[in-house]
């Protein structure tokens, strides 16, 4: 009788006849807090994996390779670091680029990314995983994107609560702006720098909230990592003082703010100056002066506060305040004025000045204006950002409502609880329905956003740029691997000390993959040298030959998209070469290459255009080629016209190699003729 009763009492979930293989949450008999923890941890784990997985499109579609241009430099330096050690890396003078000037690589790069990848590589080697450094480089950015989601979670939790932290982590995992700079293969500074940025801000907020010197020290180290990783650290050194200033002005300051900011500023500044590329900028550059100004302002502010507290007498304090204010303002203004006037404090550089005046670069510095990444964003993406920000605010708002009800129900006695609950229920009868409707709407918007992010990642941001793909006639995928074909031809068929002249875009790739010396590369630190190359490309062949002789050039490399319809080739970039060359050598005039202000390559093109070196090298033997059915020979598919000069003869160069789709063309510079 008793046994039967026990059987009846036993809960159904523990019944042995249960055929359900997956244990329900109830079998674990978790309390609410533990259930919540489980949900949180599993969501965070999923977000971690998601952030990594969404960045892998190009690895799955093409192969595990480094993308674009700048990552090739980073890859080459990381390779050097792993082979030769940190001392050689830090003191490296490279003779293989910017011939004949060379480049002090050790003092002109941000080492954070390379050191991070080399450390990860060392750890793997120590655990006897025999990975190649290239695989580590390709996957560094997605790995750090996953870590950024963790930091975003803790940051959200610190500012608001765990729910906001999860929302922040999820949004940053799929945010398209971040994905575009941290996709697998995009081995660039931003991949680790965004992680360092968020980490520094999190540590600083933690320091301000707790007032602990240890957290201030952590934020100083976070700042050091950021400075070692990316030139965008200037953002932190201006945003944090701005934040402190706002707190001081609105009166929301406390002793903890003093401890946090001072510790971070002094230690952070000292650590940052250990990076040679940054050098003494923290005390000399105009972009860093805000932080110093706020530092001094803080000392004065808190000193005045302390005097006020000690004196306990308003009249005396007012006279003291008068004296101090006049003294400090005059000293500060004098120092700033003298510093800027004598030129000791350098003005804002062109890169950051363009933030204030977007048209500045186009008129004064053509080499900054010519970079496609510097173009301002389209309005549509601004609106998209605004919409997603509104979604986030709505979600937080809804969560506030629930948080308020939670707080009400947890505090106080049972009677208070009952009465509060009753009043809440009575207050707005359709509050619950409105909340459900809002939640459904937010869920729909967020799922559309997630789909959009995945789509845009897959379509726009996962292209390696060095391998091109297109849809063939029957829908099959056609791969153009011309760049790598050309670089490996260079590597295997030219003497090891050959010098290659090309436009600066391809410099890093040629040095990394072709292993040959280049004249100019993507570092663009010497405008005159680039202008010399630009002048050579825009001159007639004999003038260009003189310039090439002076630079010891053995091979010339051009990129041509006329056969494939590839539109990012050198003919489309040619006007920038003319502008940059003309900026230094007035003999190159842009109107010489235009007809009625129009840029043409067909029969009606300007005569100088039809006979310049770039035109000849791109269209050599192209006049005999039929590129499209039904069109005449020499039809340029990228410009959509039949070229003007089909019968090109080269006197000082000879064709060395043209890739299978005519995208990259390499010419050998002939030695000077014998004199009788």
């Amino acid at each position: 009788m008793g046994a039967k009763a026990e059987n009846a009492v036993r809960p159904p979930s523990l019944a042995p006849s249960s055929s359900f293989p997956f244990p329900s949450l109830r079998t674990l008999k978790l309390k609410t807090k533990q259930q919540e923890l489980l949900i949180r941890v599993s969501t965070l784990a999923l977000i971690y994996v998601l952030a990594f997985a969404v960045r892998l499109f190009s690895v799955l579609r093409y192969e595990s390779m480094i993308h674009e241009f700048d990552p090739y430099f980073n890859y080459r330096t990381t390779l050097f670091l792993t082979k030769n050690g940190f001392y050689e890396f830090w003191n490296w003078f490279d003779a293989e680029s910017w011939y004949p000037l060379g480049r002090i690589i050790g003092g002109t790069l941000f080492p954070g990314l390379m050191v991070t990848a080399a450390l990860i590589y060392r750890v793997f080697r120590f655990l006897t995983f025999a990975v190649h450094i290239r695989e580590v480089c390709v996957l560094t950015a997605p790995f750090f994107a996953s870590n950024t989601t963790l930091v975003a979670y803790f940051f959200g939790k610190e500012i608001w609560d765990a729910g906001a932290g999860l929302a922040a982590a999820a949004l940053i995992a799929i945010c398209p702006g971040y994905i575009s700079r941290s996709v697998a293969g995009s081995y660039d500074n931003e991949g680790v720098a965004i992680f360092a940025l968020l980490l520094t801000f999190y540590f600083f907020v933690k320091a301000v909230n707790t007032g602990s010197l240890a957290w201030g020290l952590a934020s100083a180290f976070g700042y050091f990592y950021m400075v070692s990783a990316w030139g965008g650290y200037v953002f932190i050194i201006n945003l944090v003082p701005l934040y402190v200033l706002v707190l001081l002005i609105t009166g929301r300051y406390s002793m903890r703010l003093y401890v946090a900011y001072n510790c971070m500023y002094i230690l952070g500044m000292l650590l940052a100056m250990q990076i040679r590329f940054v050098g003494f900028q923290h005390v000399q550059s105009g972009e860093h002066m805000a932080a110093m100004g706020v530092f001094f302002l803080m000392q004065v502010f808190y000193f005045v506060d302390w005097v006020k507290y000690t004196l306990n007498d308003p009249k005396l304090f007012h006279s003291f305040l008068r004296i101090t204010l006049t003294c400090s303002i005059s000293v500060g203004a004098l120092a700033l004025g003298v510093g800027t006037a004598t030129g000791y404090i350098s003005p804002w550089t062109g890169r950051f000045y363009s933030l204030l005046d977007p048209t500045y670069a186009k008129d004064h510095i053509p080499i900054i204006a010519s970079v496609s990444e510097h173009q301002p964003t389209a309005w549509s993406s601004f609106i998209a950002v605004a919409v997603s920000a509104t979604i986030k605010n709505l979600t937080t708002l809804i969560r506030t409502k629930s948080k308020a009800s939670q707080t009400v129900s947890s505090k106080g006695t049972s009677s208070l609880k009952a009465s509060a609950k009753a009043s809440l229920d009575q207050a707005l009868p359709f509050q619950r329905n409105a909340a459900i409707a809002l939640l459904a709407g937010a869920f729909y918007l967020l799922s559309r956003y997630a789909i959009h992010c995945t789509w845009v990642t897959s379509e726009a941001y996962s292209s390696p740029s060095i391998v091109l793909a297109a849809r063939g006639a029957h829908g099959g995928r056609v791969i153009f691997d011309d760049y790598r074909e050309a670089y490996f031809w260079l590597r295997q068929n030219t003497p090891p000390d050959a010098k290659v002249m090309s436009w600066w875009d391809y410099g890093y790739q040629i040095t990394a993959m072709g292993n040959r010396t280049v004249i100019v590369d993507n570092n663009t630190w010497n405008n005159t040298h680039i202008a010399t190359v630009g002048r050579a490309m825009s001159s007639y062949e004999d003038e260009a030959y003189e310039i090439m002789q002076s630079l010891d050039v053995d091979y010339v490399l051009v990129v041509f998209g006329g056969v494939t319809g590839y539109s990012s080739d050198d003919i489309n970039k040619f006007l920038w070469m003319v502008r940059i060359g003309g900026g230094v050598f007035p003999v190159i005039k842009e109107p010489d290459y235009l007809v009625n202000g129009e840029y043409r390559v067909d029969k009606g093109a300007a005569p100088k255009m039809l006979n310049c070196l770039m035109y000849k090298l791109c269209y050599y033997r192209f006049g005999e080629l039929t590129t499209e059915y039904g069109k005449p020979t020499g039809y340029d598919r990228a410009r959509g016209v039949e070229i003007g000069n089909k019968d090109i003869k080269l006197e000082y160069l000879e064709e060395a190699f043209t890739t299978s789709n005519w995208i990259v063309r390499i010419y050998k510079v002939k030695p000077p003729k014998n004199r009788w």
């Binding site: 010197l213 401890v259 000292l270 006279s319």
Partner: protein, 115 residues
């Protein structure tokens, strides 16, 4: 006007002195340390004015080590001061340990930067 400002200043200094005499001894020791660090920094700046600023990294590391220890000592004073309500839960051992740690990092970086 000048007389009133000078008499104001005198009263100011006198009342500051009497108020300061009331602070506990451990805080006065920290204040003395801060003053010592600032004076050292000023001496270094004057020396730099006399002999020139080359090598700049040595000058910066010297001055910043003084300013750094002064600032960290002020932070310690804030955390140890019994009158600060914000830090009443912080044990003075923790404050002192943080101070030592930050000073250690500061001086390690200074040694690297001295050149």
């Amino acid at each position: 006007m000048a007389k009133s400002t000078s008499s104001d200043a005198q009263m100011l200094i006198r009342s500051l002195r009497t108020a300061y005499a009331a602070t506990p001894t451990n805080l006065k020791i920290i204040d003395l340390y801060v003053v010592y660090a600032i004076v050292t920094a000023v001496i270094q700046v004057v020396y730099m004015g006399v002999v020139g600023s080359f090598p700049f990294n040595s000058f910066l590391s010297g001055v910043l080590s003084c300013v750094g220890t002064a600032v960290l000592a002020v932070c310690l004073r804030i955390q140890v001061n019994k009158e600060n309500k914000e830090f009443k839960d912080l044990p003075p051992e923790r404050a002192y340990a943080d101070f030592i740690l930050c000073n250690l990092v500061l001086h390690l970086v200074i040694m690297n930067f001295l050149g």
